[in-house]
């Protein structure tokens, strides 16, 4: 048990550091595996010579920052307008299903909605638009990355909301809000002036994770983003898959630039934070009440509905396409429904499905054991996680995936290691672990220690307390953490693709690979299967404790 924290720290740092090293060295021309033995800047020169370099860089920066800014703004608007009200209860209810939709599936769903031949265009045609064939518009994969930004925002808003909700009680919002409202402040103004400055520092790391993710995302970019040129991270992946091995060195150089870009983005964000917070402090003290906020609150609710609706409607669209017979353009619904596509592709689904579940189950199980032992060690030896531990936990989420995974792949290539399923599981573990820890930390430490005191007074030692009391009583939060970890693993695209060297195929890699073909029916099947696996995981996490503790009323509120 004492070794768990050490193992966890190694697991969070070693792959990242090794990956970064494996990226930097080839970038400067040293990669004996393909005969490159002299350090040079040739790879960087090749990168700069690529005509798409400037635009790709700009695209990564603009889409990443725009997606993060919008996500944060929408999150803050929703919270300021509605948190603590009855309507908010519904928003909270929608969070778990929204979070459980994998990024790729959400992106496909949104693509099917907004495409020229998508549901929205069909719903408005021909009566409003006059279109009787899909218009020749580049909506999905538009050159500015607007569709990609929207797709990211729809997925990141629920994440930021969840993180904010976890931190909110520490800000004691109710008393402050009541006080401010008694002084005549509108609800939103009171929240923005009093609660936000206390909340933001608590959700700073999740915001940084969103920024780092959005600036270097690959799967969503492949589905919704522009491709000539694509964002830098996508191009790095393309070079890595290229048959010409010297292009791998260019990929390394690209990955180095990608890391620099994300670091610069984070630095810029940090600077902007200072400016905005200073401005906020002046704004908070200017005494304006902004009591009439009805319209703004309705607008916030509309935004919440829009971003949740985009994902739910997207999933509905995927489901419909997967059973659609002939479906001509302006028709809002297919002519007939057929199970034929599922019958035809069902057999092919089994293999990636099994692989997905195997990898996710293994990564989750390992993460769960490590996390529980870490938390138990923390309790027994009176350790506590400092600020450093939180940064450590976020490390794999702040360094662009594409960079250190690429480095790990280069290392494996360099030493001729065979990267199979177990390597993929290990790679998933790096991303699953932080989420399992974040999810289980509060419930584990929130467990009433007097229970342990009573048990010790009854003669029970720490092990008996752990196995007989703590674990069974925390069954619900432990399973929830497991479902979160499972979902994170199922959604992983790059670790499977890069570490599996293309030989490990999960639902996610298959679905993203299908995006180029554009067969909506098959894409619908794979994206739906991907979502379904995750939802089953969450259903089990909710259902199992209810079943096991069906006769224990005292545990039912705890889930």
């Amino acid at each position: 048990m004492r070794i768990a924290p050490v193992l966890t720290v190694l697991l969070l740092t070693l792959p990242v550091l090794a990956g970064l090293a494996g990226m930097v060295v080839p970038a400067f021309g040293y990669f004996p595996a393909i005969g490159a033995e002299h350090t040079s800047l040739a790879a960087f020169r090749a990168l700069l010579d690529w005509p798409g370099f400037g635009p790709a860089l700009r695209l990564s920066a603009t889409t990443g920052i725009a997606a993060t800014l919008l996500s944060l703004m929408v999150t803050v608007l929703i919270l300021s307008a509605w948190s603590g009200t009855r309507a908010f209860h519904w928003i909270e209810r929608a969070l778990s299903p929204l979070l459980s939709v994998p990024h790729a599936a959400a992106a496909f769903g949104i693509a099917f909605l907004i495409a020229p031949s998508g549901w929205i265009a069909r719903a408005l045609s021909p009566w409003l638009t006059g279109w009787d064939r899909p218009p020749d518009l580049l909506i999905v994969q538009d050159p500015w990355g607007i569709a990609m930004v929207l797709g990211l925002v729809a997925k990141e808003v629920p994440f930021l909301l969840l993180m904010a909700l976890a931190a909110l009680p520490q800000c004691q919002p109710n008393r402050s809000l009541t006080l401010a409202q008694a002084m005549g402040y509108g609800r939103m103004a009171a929240w923005l002036k009093l609660i936000l400055p206390r909340l933001y520092p608590l959700i700073r790391l999740p915001v940084y994770a969103v920024l780092a993710y959005s600036m270097s995302v690959v799967d969503v970019a492949l589905i919704l983003g522009p491709n000539t040129p694509p964002p830098l991270a996508v191009q790095v992946v393309r070079w890595m898959g290229a048959p010409d091995l010297t292009l791998r060195l260019t990929a390394s150089a690209g990955a180095v630039v990608q890391v620099g870009l994300v670091m610069a983005g984070l630095g810029l964000w940090r600077l902007a934070e200072g400016l905005v917070l200073g401005w906020c402090a002046r704004w908070a003290a200017d005494g304006r009440r902004l009591a009439q906020d009805r319209l703004a609150r309705l607008a916030a609710l509309a935004l919440a509905g829009l971003s949740a609706g985009a994902i739910f409607a997207g999933i509905a669209g995927l489901a419909l396409w997967s059973v659609a017979g002939p479906w001509r353009f302006p028709n809002a619904l297919p002519d007939l429904l057929t199970p034929g596509h599922w019958q035809r592709h069902g057999a092919g689904l089994i293999e990636p499905l099994t692989e997905t579940v195997l990898i996710a189950a293994a990564a989750t199980a390992i993460a769960l054991v490590l996390v529980v032992f870490c938390l138990e060690a923390e309790q027994r030896f009176n350790l506590s996680k400092g600020r450093g531990a939180m940064w450590l936990l976020y490390l794999p989420l702040l360094i662009p995936q594409v960079a250190f995974l690429h480095g790990l792949q280069m290392l494996a290539l360099g030493i001729g290691a065979d990267m199979g399923r177990s390597a993929v599981i290990a790679a998933h573990l790096v991303f699953v672990l932080p989420y399992v820890m974040l999810s289980l930390d509060d419930p584990y430490n929130g467990w009433d220690r007097r229970q342990a005191t009573v048990a010790a007074a009854l003669g029970a030692g720490p092990s008996r307390v752990f196995w007989r009391l703590r674990l069974p009583m925390l069954l619900a939060p432990i399973l929830t953490a497991a479902a979160v970890g499972f979902a994170v693993s199922v959604g992983q695209y790059l670790p499977t693709l890069l570490i599996g060297a293309g030989r490990v195929q999960t639902l996610t890699t298959e679905a993203v690979a299908l995006s180029a073909g554009g067969d909506r029916r098959v894409i619908g099947i794979y994206a739906l299967a991907q979502t379904g696996v995750v939802i089953l995981g969450f259903a089990a996490a909710i259902g199992l404790p209810r079943l096991v503790w069906a006769n224990r009323r005292g545990l039912r509120g705890a889930a």
């Binding site: 005191t453 010790a456 007074a457 503790w549 224990r552 005292g554 545990l555």
Partner: protein
């Protein structure tokens, strides 16, 4: 060997600041009542005796139970029972399971022992029940019996009667003190209720 519980200049520090200090000798079957306003460190004294002080607290002085110095012993080896105001029945175990948790492992015929314990507190046939469905008084009795089954050598009470309404409070007090006397257990009662102190009938020590 001296029977009973001896607190010999027991002093509790938070960091380097002394928080509370007391000396007492509680004979078997006797009760020491510690009174004082909340936040004075009454519960901390009990935590020092059970060996579950929160990190940051340190205790000096000696705690001797029936001749055994408790210093350095882990909580589970001290044989000191404790009751809280919240009865803290383990929510995932049945009433019988809770009692069984307290019963020492070598006990022959655990089922009969549990049935007999339930009969003793007037709760025949409650073994299979969910603790969450019990009334406040029933929970208090199960918590008491669970602790007694573990055969403690001393009894600590952390305002255990505060949550009960007036009628029940009297009954529970009688039941607890009667059993402690019958088993010759030294008792430390922490309370801010003067009525509790009167009912305990022993020495009263006021803090603060």
């Amino acid at each position: 060997m001296t029977a009973g519980l001896i607190l010999d200049t027991l002093t509790i520090h938070l960091g380097n600041r002394p928080l509370v200090s007391l000396s007492a000798r509680i004979a078997p079957g006797a009760v020491l009542t510690v009174m004082g306003p909340s936040g004075i460190g009454k519960s901390t004294i009990l935590a020092a005796i059970t060996g579950t002080l929160a990190p940051g607290f340190r205790c000096r002085g000696r705690i001797v139970l029936n001749g055994r110095d408790l210093a350095g012993l882990p909580p589970q080896d001290r044989h000191v029972g404790i009751l809280f105001q919240d009865h803290l029945l383990f929510p995932h175990l049945s009433v019988g399971g809770n009692l069984s948790f307290g019963l020492p492992p070598g006990t022959p015929d655990r089922k009969a022992a549990i049935a007999q314990a339930l009969a003793e507190i007037g709760m025949d046939g409650f073994a299979g029940r969910d603790p969450a469905t019990l009334s406040g008084g029933q929970k208090a009795r199960v918590a008491l019996m669970r602790m007694l089954l573990s055969e403690p050598q001393a009894l600590l009470l952390d305002e255990p009667f505060s949550g009960l309404d007036a009628d029940l409070r009297g009954q529970m007090r009688d039941m607890v003190f009667e059993r402690a006397r019958a088993r010759n257990l030294p008792v430390v009662l922490v309370t801010h209720d003067a009525e509790d102190a009167r009912a305990a009938g022993g020495e009263v020590m006021s803090l603060g």
